[in-house]
Amino acid sequence: MKFADEFRDADIARALSQRIAGEAGDKHWKIMEVCGGHTHTIFKYGIEDLLPSNVELVHGPGCPVCVIPMGRLDDGIALAKRPEVIFTCFGDLMRVPGSDGSLLDAKAAGADVRMVYSPLDALKIARDNPDKKVVFYAIGFETTAPSTALTLLRAKAENLRNLFVFCNHVNIIPPMKAILDSPDLQLDGFLGPGHVSTVVGIRPYEFVTRTYNKPVVVVGFEPLDILQGVHMVIQQILQGRCEVENQYTRVVHDEGNPKALDVLGRVFQLRTQFEWRGLGFISQSGLELREEFDEWNAEKMFTVPGVRVADPKACQCGEVLKGVLKPWECKVFGTACTPETPIGTCMVSSEGACAAYYNFGRYSRARERERAMGANGNGNGNGAVKELKPIEVKAG
């Protein structure tokens, strides 16, 4: 497959992996990938197998589904349950539990909930169903916000009055800042979000290097992009540099996408504050529709419960997101909090750090041991799997 396979080449990966292992030395590195898309790639391709055990990837707050607070999801489900509403959203939101069931449950109970791949699909549904009110539950960072903005501009131009947007769009910079401000921060550098950066460019990350003295490398979403990004972060530190670098030059321009930024500015404004699951309220971190779009604003045109559901006290997602705790070190991990009954953000989506560890931990752990035992050099070659050692043999 063109434009994809080139970035998944195992030979280049092995070479890069060896260079990283060589340069990483004995230091323990903690590098955070901010974006959920990166986390997905890391697990899908088993990238951690290609990194030495002293290079740790910390899975950051960039999974748009995970960060939606439960109260906002409850508002969405309440909208979905209204008989006059066709509720539309991206597929990954459907399974996420609210305080009383998920959207999938609401659908089973009779709500008209439809998965869309784009807000423009919601626009089409609104056109095709003039007697219904179509709500689009907008989520995501600067990556998805422009398409919501365009949809709203089009709805306004067409004077389409039965489409409403429930806006949960958020900005990536404020949570990064919140993490950097944390006193127990233990990160060496960041892999910056590639797709967000196609919109905002790479300048917005300069405060990370200037104020916090941590390097940022904006990277793409193919596995080689990630490995190269890790290598670039390590090289910056070893060479005493601290910059915002762009690994994803084939897509990201330093200035971002002026047209998309313009559209965002015309449709959205910053909220004073927005709640993040696991991170709490962060000021100026969310987007809301401008006044001119009041008639398309689901928050203004419908009454929703608007009840804040606090993150459970025992949940330590914040610490996991900051890389202070490993998933298994959380008090409720694997007991009260599982992928089937998630408590915190990190367990909600399969891209969340805890869900990933819950599903893959046992296996990667066995691999780690195998590597530690020094079998077959770096243990990364094909066939290493077949020499997998037993996990733990019962005594006696």
């Binding site: 497959m1 994809a4 998944r8 195992a10 990966a13 092995r14 992996s17 697990f43 899908k44 391709y45 088993g46 990238i47 951690e48 197998d49 290609l50 597929g91 459907m94 399974r95 069931g101 999938l104 449950d105 659908k107 089973a108 109970a109 791949y117 596995p223 080689l224 490993k326 298994w328 070190e329 991990f333 694997g334 007991t335 599982t338 992928p339 089937e340 399969s350 819950y358 599903n359 893959f360 931990g361 046992r362 296996y363 752990r365 066995a366 691999r367 990364n380 070659g381 094909n382 799997v385 077949k386 997998l388 037993p390 996990i391 733990e392 043999v393 019962k394 005594a395 006696g396």
Partner: protein, 391 residues
């Protein structure tokens, strides 16, 4: 199940009861390794029999993945439990009084696909092939099929005729007849045009050669052809996503000829299952759990048409989880794997067959894949519902 996993019932580490050095060392290791304890606890929970927690049926209960599995084991098999059903095979095998070396294989399947016609097939053809294949993978020769039709008020008769004619043609191709049937009509809106349930009866030699219990470490995993064609085709045919792919066709076809060829050539087939809903990933998970083994795949070796890879890539789904309607997974004794591949490839149904992995002793119940990139990841059962009503 092996006894290699430490359970939470083991004595608490600070009180090593047994005097053996090994027990003390193990206990000490566990104190030093809280992470291991957490992982063990998760393992313990995973092995528990699933419970039906949901208050209502959701679409994910029909998707063939984890929720379907829970619904079947925790509700149907729990209430209806009997020695034959409890095996949860693709086909049930009943004794024939007075005949020791033959059994009666029975299977049933409902078809609710939307749209009724799609590139490469239609609901009538699916209804025959799906049932024939459920018999064939168990080594049974189909002898007759029963078909029940639920029709929605207002259904176009010409359309119904087209479906029945196609169903007849498929039955002829599979060398089997529809010997009985039933028809019900429901008010408009109470069904979507047309649903079909087919029940197949076949004869199988005993002891059954294709049985999950025969799967063992060292066996080789084959698939009979390219993955995901059917699910991808139906999804695009439905028009929910703005994608077109001219070369995409459903793979619906009967596999009884292919399975017969494998048996005729005396291939030591340990187990076969057709990879419908939930795809090959789900079938392999069922085998890993059912047989208490691990399965390792090599991503490079998976036969997937470029067009399906493209669709999957764009939609963010994986071909491994997409449904097929004419593909089987075969677990074959190591020494016969190459020959099995040749037999498959010599037939049109198996022209794109491939060896995709091996069976390992552990980690028990787990399926994983060596990625094209040189890493490894776990391939879990399908969660959720990416492609509703594809069969």
């Amino acid at each position: 199940m092996t006894d290699t996993d430490v359970t939470s019932e083991s004595p608490p580490p600070e009180v090593p009861v047994a005097g053996s050095g090994a027990a003390i060392r193990a206990a000490a290791a566990r104190i030093a390794d809280p992470e291991q304890r957490v992982l063990e606890r998760i393992e313990e929970m995973r092995k528990r029999k699933p419970r039906m927690r949901d208050d209502a049926i959701t679409m994910s209960h029909g998707a063939g993945g984890k929720s379907s599995h829970t619904l079947i084991t925790a509700l149907f098999a729990d209430v209806l439990s009997n020695p034959v059903l409890d095996q949860l095979g693709d086909q049930a095998v009943l004794p024939i009084p007075g005949v020791d070396n033959l059994g009666l294989a029975v299977t049933t399947d409902s078809f609710v696909v939307s749209p009724l016609f799609f590139p490469g097939g239609d609901i009538g053809e699916l209804a025959i092939n799906g049932t024939v294949n459920d018999l064939a993978v168990g080594g049974a020769t189909p002898v007759g099929i029963a078909a029940a039709f639920i029709l929605e008020e207002g259904l176009d008769v010409e359309l119904l005729r087209k479906v029945v004619v196609s169903l007849r043609a498929a039955a002829d191709r599979a060398g089997v007849s529809v010997v009985t049937g039933d028809t019900k009509v429901v008010p408009r809106g109470k069904a979507d045009k047309l649903f079909i349930t087919t029940t197949g009866v076949g004869i199988v030699e005993l002891p059954q050669r294709s049985a999950m219990a025969r799967v063992r470490a060292g066996d080789v995993v084959l698939v009979s052809g390219a993955l995901g064609d059917h699910g991808a085709t139906v999804m695009l045919a439905r028009g929910d996503v703005d994608l077109e792919a001219e070369s995409l066709r459903s793979d619906t076809m009967p596999l009884h000829g292919l399975t017969k060829a494998l048996f005729d050539e005396d291939i030591d087939v340990h187990f076969m299952r057709d990879a419908t809903r939930g795809g090959v990933a789900t079938v392999l998970n069922e085998i890993a759990q059912g047989a208490g083994v691990a399965i390792s795949m090599n991503e490079d070796s998976l036969p997937i048409h470029d067009v399906v890879r493209g669709v999957a890539e764009i939609l963010g789904i994986e071909a491994l989880y997409i449904a097929n309607e004419g593909k089987l997974v075969a677990i074959v004794a190591e020494g016969d794997a190459e020959r099995a591949l040749q037999v498959m490839r010599s037939r049109p149904e198996g022209a794109e067959a491939a060896i995709i992995g091996t069976v390992l002793p552990e980690p028990e119940g787990m399926v994983f894949i060596e990625t094209v990139f040189g890493g490894t990841r776990v391939v879990d059962m399908l969660q959720g519902d990416p492609l509703p009503r594809i069969c």
